[in-house]
Amino acid sequence: MRAKRRQVVLTLGAALLGGGALALKAAAQSDDQVIKILARRFTYTPNHLTLKKDVPVVLELTTADVLMGFSLPDFNLRTDIMPDQIARLRLVPDKLGTFEFLCDIFCGSGHESMSGTLTVVA
C-alpha cells in the first residue's frame, strides 16, 4: 500500500491555558494519523484535539493508573483503557463542531471532571 502522508493539527489544551496556540504537526507513515492520549485520574493528555474534517485518525489510548474509559458519544465511539495495554480507536471526523469526550467508567472522586473536547474544522 502506498504510504500517504497526512498532517493533522493537534492542539494541546495546555496551550490554550497558556493563551497561545501550540500546534503540533504530526505526520504518520500510514493512511491514518496516530494521536496518543494518556489517561490518568482524572485527566486526559491532551484534553483538546483539533482535527480536520474527513481526515481519519487513530487514537492510541493508554492509562497511567487504573482502568479508564474513553467515550466520544457524538461519534458513537468508546473503548475501555486497560492498564498496560494500548486501546485504539479509528475516528473519522465527518462533522464540524466541538464535541465532548469523557471517561465513562467511574474512577473516583474526580471522575465527573475527566473530560476533554474535540474540535473538527474545515
Binding site: G69, L102, G108, S109
Partner: protein, 302 residues
C-alpha cells in the same frame, strides 16, 4: 382513602408549597392477584423520593453540607400525613477511595435517616456509593442493590445500574428483570426505581445507562410503567414511548441542565436563596389509573 388535596393545602400553608406534575396516561389498571391469590387492594397512596444526598461532600456548592440532609429529614417528618414509604434513589454518600471512610459515610448517612419517622425506607445505590467496590460496602449497610416489592397493587422494581463502574445493568440482572416481568400481568402498574437514567439523556455527561435500552425494551410490552431516578440533581421528565421517566432533585448541590455549560460542575450556592435547586418529591400514586402526581418540595420551608 387519603385526601391529598387537604395535605397539599397543609403543605402550602406550612410553607412547603411545591410544584405539581402529573404523570401517567390514565390507562386503566385492573386489580391483579398477589402471591396470596387474592386481588390486591388498589388504593391511592403516596411515597416520597429522596435522592443524591452525597453525604461526605464538602465544598462551596453547599456551605451547609452537614446540615442539608438533616433538614430534609425534618421536612419529611413534618408532612401532615406520613408517606406510606420513602425511596432513596442513590448517591447516599459522596465517593471516596478510602474503603474505611466509605463505610463511615454510609454509617453516618444511615444514622441520620434513621430519624425519619416513616420506617419503611427503600435504598438504592448510586455510583458514588457502589462503583468503586461493586456495591460491597453498600450491601453491608443496606442489603441487595436490586429487588422488588409490592404496595397496594403497584409493583416496584429497584434496578442497579451503578455497581458496575461501566454504568451497566448487566446481563444477569436483565434476565432477572425479564423473569420478574413475566410474572406480572400485562397491565400491571409497574414503577422502576433506579439511579441513572435508563435512556440516553446526555451521554456527553455520562447521563445514561449503557444497556438501559435493553431494560426499556423489556418494560415496553407493559402499558403502565413509570421510572423514578436520580443522578442528575434536578427535576426532569421524559417519555420513551409510553414510559415516563422522572428525575429527582438532589440534596447536596444542583447540577446544570444538560449541555447548558461546558462542564457538569455543580451550580453555585446562592446566599440569597439557600438550598435553591435542592429538594425531595412527593409521589401520589393513583393505583386504579396507573397515574402519578408529583409534587416537588424544598428541604427548607419558604
Amino acid at each position: 382513602m387519603r385526601q391529598p388535596i387537604d395535605r397539599r393545602e397543609f403543605m402550602r400553608l406550612a410553607g412547603y408549597g411545591g410544584v405539581v406534575f402529573a404523570s401517567g396516561l390514565g390507562a386503566a389498571c385492573s386489580s391483579y392477584p398477589q402471591a396470596s391469590g387474592k386481588p390486591a387492594e388498589l388504593d391511592d397512596f403516596y411515597f416520597v423520593q429522596m435522592s443524591d444526598a452525597h453525604w461526605g461532600f464538602e465544598g462551596p456548592p453547599n456551605p451547609d453540607a452537614k446540615g442539608t440532609l438533616k433538614k430534609a429529614v425534618e421536612a419529611v417528618n413534618s408532612l401532615s400525613q406520613p408517606p406510606d414509604f420513602i425511596v432513596f434513589t442513590g448517591d447516599l454518600t459522596h465517593t471516596t477511595d478510602d474503603a474505611k471512610v466509605r463505610r463511615q459515610r454510609l454509617s453516618q448517612f444511615k444514622e441520620i435517616v434513621s430519624e425519619l419517622k416513616v420506617k419503611d425506607v427503600h435504598f438504592m445505590p448510586g455510583e458514588h456509593d457502589a462503583s468503586l467496590d461493586h456495591g460491597e460496602a453498600f450491601q453491608e449497610f443496606f442489603g441487595n442493590t436490586h429487588y422488588t416489592f409490592d404496595h397496594k397493587g403497584v409493583h416496584f422494581i429497584a434496578l442497579d445500574n451503578v455497581s458496575d463502574p461501566r454504568a451497566s445493568i448487566g446481563e444477569e440482572q436483565l434476565q432477572w428483570l425479564a423473569s420478574d416481568l413475566k410474572q406480572q400481568p400485562q397491565d400491571a402498574n409497574i414503577v422502576v426505581l433506579t439511579h441513572r437514567p435508563l435512556f440516553d439523556l446526555y451521554p456527553q455527561w455520562d447521563w445514561a445507562t449503557k444497556d438501559g435500552a435493553q431494560a426499556i425494551e423489556l418494560l415496553l410490552p407493559h402499558p403502565n410503567v413509570t421510572v423514578f431516578y436520580g443522578h442528575i440533581h434536578q427535576e426532569h421528565h421524559q417519555m420513551t414511548g409510553h414510559i415516563a421517566h422522572h428525575a429527582a432533585k438532589g440534596l447536596m448541590f444542583p447540577l446544570p441542565v444538560a449541555g447548558s455549560q461546558p462542564k457538569r460542575t455543580p451550580l453555585a450556592w446562592d446566599p440569597a436563596q439557600p438550598y435553591k435547586g435542592l429538594g425531595f418529591r412527593d409521589v401520589e400514586a393513583q393505583a386504579k389509573q396507573a397515574a402519578f402526581q408529583l409534587t416537588e418540595l424544598p428541604v427548607q420551608k419558604a
